[in-house]
Amino acid sequence: MRIRDLLLLGGVALLGTAMMAGRGGRGGRGAPAAGGTISGKVTFTGTPPKMKPIDMAKEPFCAKEHAAAPVFTENVVTGPGNSLRWVAVYISAGDQGSSPATETVRLDQKNCQYIPHVLVVQPNQPLDIYNDDPHSHNIHPLAKVNPEWNKSQPAGAPPIHAKWELPEFIPVKCNVHPWMHGWHVVLTTSHYAVTGEDGAFSLQGLPPGKYTVTAWQEQFGTQSQDVTITGTETKTINLVFKATPY
């Protein structure tokens, strides 16, 4: 009687695991994917604000490093063809299962800037934060849903291992260097991209289904579009923000 009980319970457990394993798509950023693709460009209409040059006189080392090529604020970074950089594009509805990402994402504080300006992580994905400068920074993510923390990182210190548990758009700043601004975007989906200079994005490996694609820009908010994938086709969409000078 006892063995039968155990076998039955074991069988139920096994079945459950198998079902769960089957659901998670082998999606995520790294894997070459079967399935459809949604790609396109993020652009703007109207007049965007002018980015201001940053005076890093408070940190002489960084001022010197940028003496040849001044650095500008990064809230609205535009590119050729009215493209927008640093826009996070992701599946906001219809996602049929993303597996948790395990590869480590890296954030650098270099020459008093956050590189990259916008990074995306999935919940609990390891995030390593490096200080490449010969002076201290403090990393102060202003999270509201996730815990807000603030850690100092002197020159030469080992990377800070962080992770975010809950989906949120988290602004990050350094209090010592007030011009340093960045974003940690925590998304549950593994189908996301951050646009480069050309404003282009490509979300791959999407099983057939109805999706909502959302683009998030830190100053202009979000733009969304619905896309249906039926097979392995590539659907091209353009997400357009209305830019205002201020």
Binding site: D5, W149, N150, A157
Partner: protein, 282 residues
Amino acid sequence: MRLHTRFVALVSGLGVLLYTAGATVGSAQETHIEGVTGHAAAGKKVYRRYCILCHGPDGDGNGENAQWIDPKPRDFTLGVFKCRSTPTGTLPTDEDLFNAMSRGFVTTNMPQWLPLSRQNRADVVAFIKTFSPKWKTTKAGTPITIPPEPTLTVESILHGRELYQKMECWKCHGARGHGDGPSAATLTDNKDLPIRPYDFSSGSRFMCGVTNRDLYKIFMTGLDGTPMPSFADDIKPADGWDLVHFLRTLQPLQTPEAAIWQAWLASHANELKPIGPPGTGQ
């Protein structure tokens, strides 16, 4: 028949276990402080009498008087607190909140609520915990371990001075701790409101207490919500005391640290390299 009953027993057992665990995590309606149990329902009455005009009926720091107060009253809905014994990014313990409200916050409108009975204070702490959902989903952090304070020596103070330079405290607090460092003027808190770093030369109480131990906790846990970070990853626990001893010499108080430091300075002052940006003698 037997399998069915055992299965039911197992599941119900698990269910009871999970419920209890969840209930323990989620009992934000109660606090336990120094043998006193506080209850949120009783705390609501205390809050109405004393707290509501600044902290607001919703606990978000938007009371009637908040607009005329600087610094602004704490927004309890965020679950972010300055004075903790727990690591940065974690919730404070009940004692932390109890002590913070009893002590008040110097240079702010937050009074020292010490004259209130301990029961009243424990009750209102329990009520405050109902303003943020974080108290239901997360437990309070584990208080940091503080090694015993070592004997006070000049070497300790000198090492603390090195740490003050190396950790770049001077960037905000200034070379002499006057709160006038190069980054001081642009500091903002988590609500983007201007905020000043502590000026050691004022000799006033620290934001989170008056003892050496309180000072230790400040830089080892950080003042969450403010620009003051945690240095727990960068300073070894024992070395933290050296920094405490040095920081005391920056205050115009008659402390043992100040006495030893002044005695040493009388004959060794020219051995010191100035604190400040690299290239100024460092």
